[in-house]
């Protein structure tokens, strides 16, 4: 039972354009949502997060949008850069156990010149 789903295994975007990565979840108890970025042979690195009391959080080129009614969140990267090419994982946790992150299967983003 996959509680956090990333239905697009890969995404290819031209440099300078917007990248939109999507994530759906099934557990209405999730209160915290995070995006991690992973380069080959490295561990995941934290990118941005949002709590369920907000619907948007922005950090530089990265913005995460949360639609609680649709149980959907998305990560927008604009403008996309070649260095953004990596695997992006969506993760979620309920407020009663914020130490047990549930990860999606990841989306591989490739930004080409």
């Amino acid at each position: 039972d996959q509680q956090v789903k990333q239905n697009s295994p890969s995404l290819s975007v031209q440099e300078g354009r917007i990248s939109i990565l999507n994530c759906d979840y099934t557990n209405s108890m999730f209160d915290y949502f995070l995006w991690y970025k992973k380069y080959p042979a490295e561990g995941p690195t934290f990118l941005i997060s949002i709590s369920s009391i907000k619907d948007k959080n922005e950090d530089g080129r990265f913005t995460v949008f949360l639609n609680k009614s649709a149980k959907h969140l998305s990560l927008h990267i604009v403008p996309s850069q070649p260095g953004d090419s990596a695997v992006y994982f969506c993760a979620a946790a309920p407020s009663y156990n914020t130490d047990k992150l549930i990860f999606g299967t990841g989306t591989r983003l490739q930004v080409f010149p």
Binding site: V4, Y32, A41, G43, K100, L101
Partner: protein
């Protein structure tokens, strides 16, 4: 180094053998996590330590898996009687106080375990 360090980077073992995977967290971080990432999947929670004690071990798949953190710093994940299905990248992470949903966790590069 300043980051989370995991050793070895790669481990190949025969089915049925015992293995130990080591994690050195960032100095001063009280919370330590083990995750497992199988091919094509996202990281899967195994266990969480707060200090020396296992605060949540609900992700350990069975009693062949065990983890310790005796002095509240370095942690060792131990797998007995390894099976081919144990093959995965084992990731360790640490954070200053815990609460990954609210605070940043720092992951190591992982140990790739291959059971042949």
């Amino acid at each position: 180094g300043a980051g989370v360090s995991q050793t070895p980077s790669n481990k190949v073992t025969e089915k049925g053998k015992y293995v130990e995977l080591r994690c050195d967290p960032i100095s001063g971080h009280t919370a330590l996590y083990w995750y497992r990432q199988s091919l094509g999947q996202g990281p899967e929670f195994l266990i969480y330590f707060q200090g020396t004690g296992a605060a949540d071990d609900s992700g350990l798949p069975n009693d062949r898996f065990f983890a310790v953190r005796p002095e509240g710093s370095v942690s060792t994940l131990k797998i007995q009687r390894t099976e081919r299905g144990d093959s995965a990248v084992y990731l360790c992470a640490s954070s200053l106080y815990g609460g990954l949903g609210r605070t940043e966790a720092f992951f190591g590069q992982g140990t790739r375990l291959t059971v042949v």
